[in-house]
């Protein structure tokens, strides 16, 4: 019998469910393979010792107490935007406008700080900042949601476009409110009076943000998993026809959820301006609206897992910056390593869902 004719080299079939330790074994294994692969690439391309490079990546996040706090702060901001887009994602509504919605919130907060600093007491300014920035974020998401509900426009493109509008709007106001004159930048707002600056908890500059986001994270988990709204979101996301069949008002759920999504993005903008940076620039959100998409997906839209995935992305990002300075490499090299690691982590999901049979394995010959 002609052996070459017998069967294909390999074929793929879907797995049943794997036990949790096998799933995590595959994920852990893929991370290990990714690190080895990155090491090979590093020594081939740069000639550096990969172990030293890894040590530097670790240093980037845990090297000093300050770096550790920056890590936590960055995680909390990324997590905040990720939590914001997640309810929309669960509804299969792709809100890619986290960037713009957070910017709208930041703009509203800065506007309060600048325009009201001479007319209202500090507590009133902060209160107004909270209200207006959350509202601004909600409106920025509400516009595409309204159009989607009313005329079934594509929310992906619409929210994406709203990002550009927000960026240009902020760029415009940066010139209007520039300080000092002619700089084209706003600089630190109210550096002496600290009006509109959020209170600091003890000596920890970032603790307030971290606590707020932690609370939002738990609340979002409970909201999505146990509330009636969360259930409606899940049903609409799975099938709009089923939702209509049981009498859920689909359009109302879409608008409500997008408003929530935008409001939380607005909160992220508020925290960036009021608590961390005390200034406003067009790139104050630092692309978190887009990184959040990855955080949310990697965690399969589970708020608790998102703590881990946002840690992973921030950790890798900080490490990339660290090796850029330590080894006088280009920042892009760190990004290449990040890309490789993410590729392996995402790719491992394939091996969790499918198995590959090679020719000859598990078969008797002849």
């Amino acid at each position: 019998m002609n052996k070459a004719q017998r069967s294909p080299l390999f074929h793929i079939s879907k797995r049943g469910s794997l036990p949790w330790y096998a799933v995590w074994g595959i994920r852990g294994g893929s991370l290990l393979v990714a690190l080895v692969f990155c090491g090979v690439i590093t020594s081939l391309v740069t000639g550096e010792n990969p172990l030293q490079v890894y040590a530097a990546i670790f240093e980037g996040s845990f090297g000093t107490t300050r770096k550790f706090w920056v890590l936590l702060q960055n995680i909390s901001m990324l997590l905040c935007v990720s939590l914001a887009v997640t309810p929309a994602f669960r509804m299969r509504c792709w809100n890619l406008g986290g960037e713009g919605q957070a910017l709208a919130g930041a703009l509203a907060a800065a506007a309060c700080m600048i325009c009201l600093r001479n007319s209202l007491p500090n507590w009133a300014v902060i209160l107004l900042m909270i209200v207006t920035s959350i509202l601004a974020g909600a409106i920025w998401a509400g516009i595409p949601a309204f159009f989607k509900a009313k005329w079934n426009t594509n929310e992906t493109l619409f929210t994406l476009m709203m990002n550009y509008v927000a960026t240009q709007l902020v760029a415009y106001y940066c010139v209007v409110w520039e300080s000092p004159k002619g700089s084209g930048q706003i600089g630190i707002i109210n550096p002496n009076t600290h009006i509109g600056w959020f209170p600091q908890i003890g000596p920890y500059k970032y603790l307030l943000n971290i606590l707020i986001v932690a609370a939002v994270c738990i609340a979002m988990y409970v909201y999505l998993s146990y509330s009636k709204h969360g259930y409606e979101i899940a049903v609409v996301g799975e099938s709009e026809r089923t939702a209509r069949y049981v009498g859920i008002k689909v359009n109302r759920v879409i608008i409500r959820t997008m408003l929530l999504s935008g409001a939380l993005c607005g909160l992220a903008g508020l925290l960036l301006v009021g608590s961390t940076n005390h200034t406003l620039t067009p790139n104050i959100v630092e692309g978190r609206g887009f990184t959040a998409v990855m955080v949310s997906w990697l965690a399969k839209f589970n708020p608790i897992w998102m703590i881990l995935t946002s840690f992973l992305l921030v950790f890798l990002g900080r490490g990339a910056g660290e090796i850029a300075t330590n080894f006088s490499l280009n920042q892009s090299f760190g990004d290449i390593l990040t890309g490789i690691i993410l590729f392996f982590i995402i790719g491992s999901e394939f091996f969790i869902n499918y198995e590959i049979h090679f020719r000859g394995s598990g078969k008797k010959e002849g």
């Binding site: 019998m1 004719q5 069967s7 079939s13 409606e232 799975e238 049981v246 009498g247």
Partner: protein, 509 residues
């Protein structure tokens, strides 16, 4: 046929999907000049087995031999090269192309539609098909599309044909035509395999039957030497009673009164025209008709899911009060206190959420109850366990996503939820479509019990034999109009079939 070499020999074929053993060392012979009926309950592995023959799946173990020669079928193309063609349940045609264009699509060589049309006409006249090669697919009825699919595989030179539940979408007349064609092909020396659930079709058409159960080959025998009862017992594994009960309606009272109902689709086509009827409590009103004659729109109008152009739908309470249902959505209908249950045709796309588990699916109807902003998870969980127990749903647990269940079990979950709210009206669309015999009888039984409890049941069905046995009255739809309403007891299949294709059903003869 004893010493003939089989056209197809399948030996020790095993196929696993994850932990599920879909086929377990199956042996099957298929002979030329013979129609083989492949029987088995849902999930018994019939379609999987045939998919391996047509190159869609690759077997984990076992060998396949064509005309005594061992072969490897890696892809549908390999299968075609070996003369194996499969007609699937879901047609794979391009709507905007003509029949001829669809048939030659993907074939190598120069595109010569004229020659192709000639060849198609040749095939048609040889076997008695009626296909216009220049007709566009979107202009065709379901049965015409199916014919195109069959001609397509014949055009490619197939002499081993596999048909997966071909009659599920056909009227009795169309079924007879199809059977005539299949007999012609058999007489021409082709091997024909037909997968079906309908016993009377097996008896009428096939020469030999092969039975699978739980992925295993149970046996095969000449059709003439067996009976529907024996085949069913083999499929199910224990004796089954093949009678549908039809208790007399007790104290029927008008419950739903539909008057002059007219519905247009979004693109302006008339889907229902001036439909009027009354459904009574304690009665099963069967709705017959070719698929797409307005059954879906009719049920969805009553359930508040379909915008209506004109007419009225009244719900009549026990004390004679009338409530207009038209213009209300499902939520406001429920809030009016009308307990209306609906088992839609699209079980996983409308009635249930495939990715949610049983308990969460039970919650679909009840999640709003209570003032708290949080959902009550306990009651649906208990209900899920009750349904699993009472209706014998086979599932690993109530926290299994329903899409993992087999068709019959999915339907039991859906029907179980819908009747749990003690409805006064029960709408069902193709309640047993794709279900095996055992599950089908469970569903008939459940529906009958609802009827006995005084529920007005509206049952849209496709199997006329079942409608004639189950329904107290049958409303026949033809092109969106009421072709007639006949009593279920004593109605003739032929007459109802004619009413389905022609208003009033008067034959020309």
């Amino acid at each position: 046929m004893d010493n003939k070499i089989p056209a197809v020999q399948m030996r020790d074929i095993t196929k696993r999907f994850g932990s599920v053993l879909a086929n377990d060392k199956v042996w099957l012979n298929i002979y030329r000049g013979e129609i083989l009926a492949l029987l088995g309950e849902n999930g018994s592995g019939k379609t999987t087995l045939m998919n391996m023959l047509s190159g869609i799946y690759f077997p984990d173990e076992g060998t396949i031999a064509i005309d005594g020669k061992e072969v490897v079928i890696r892809s549908p193309k390999d299968a075609f090269d070996l003369g194996i063609g499969m007609i699937h349940q879901h047609f794979k045609l391009v709507d905007v192309l003509t029949a001829a264009e669809n048939i030659v699509l993907g074939l190598p060589g120069k595109l010569d539609l004229k020659a192709a049309a000639e060849k198609i006409r040749g095939i048609c006249s040889a076997y008695g098909f009626e296909v216009d090669p220049d007709q566009k697919i979107y202009d065709m009825s379901v049965s015409q599309k199916q014919t195109v699919e069959i001609v397509k595989v014949l055009y490619r030179g197939a002499d081993i044909l596999i048909l997966d539940e071909p009659t599920a979408v056909l009227t009795p007349q169309e079924t007879e035509k199809l059977f005539a064609v299949l007999r012609n092909m058999r007489n021409d020396g082709k091997a024909v395999v037909i997968i079906t659930h309908k016993m009377h079709e097996v008896e009428e058409l096939s020469d030999r039957v092969a039975v699978l159960r739980h992925g295993q080959f149970i046996g095969d025998m000449p059709t003439a030497k067996t009976s529907a009862q024996e085949m069913t017992n083999m499929m199910v594994g224990h004796p089954v009673v093949l009678n549908i009960k039809r208790p007399e309606p007790v104290n029927p009272r008008p419950r739903i009164e539909v008057e002059g109902l007219t519905v247009r689709s979004i693109d302006g086509y008339l889907k229902l025209e001036d439909v009027s009827f009354t459904a009574y409590s304690g009665e099963i009103l069967g709705i017959a008709g070719i698929s797409g004659s307005g059954q879906k729109e009719l049920l969805e109008s009553i359930a508040g899911l379909q915008p209506v152009e004109a007419g009225s739908i009244c719900y009549i309470e026990d004390d004679g009060r009338r409530e207009q249902l038209l213009g209300k959505d499902p939520l406001s209908i429920a809030q009016m206190g009308v307990s209306l249950s609906f088992v839609p045709e699209d079980r996983l796309g409308m009635g249930l959420v495939g990715n949610m588990d049983l308990a969460d699916n039970m919650m679909l109807r009840s999640f709003r109850s209570g003032k708290s902003m949080f959902t009550d998870r306990k009651t649906p969980h208990t209900l899920a366990e009750t349904v699993v127990h009472d209706l014998e749903v086979s599932t690993p647990s109530v926290s299994t996503p329903v899409r993992r269940l087999s068709g019959g079990n999915v339907q039991k979950v859906l029907v179980g939820r819908e009747i749990s709210s003690a409805p006064t009206v029960l709408l069902t669309a193709y309640a047993v479509r794709g279900l095996d015999i055992n599950s089908s009888y469970t569903i008939y039984d459940l529906i009958n019990r609802q009827k006995e409890q005084g529920v007005a049941v509206i049952y849209v069905g496709e199997d006329l034999d079942v409608l004639l046995e189950l329904a107290d009255r049958i409303l026949v739809l033809c092109g969106g109009k009421v072709s007639g309403i006949v009593p279920g007891r004593g109605a003739k299949k032929r007459d109802v079939g004619l009413m389905m294709t022609k208003l009033g059903g008067k034959s020309d003869e």
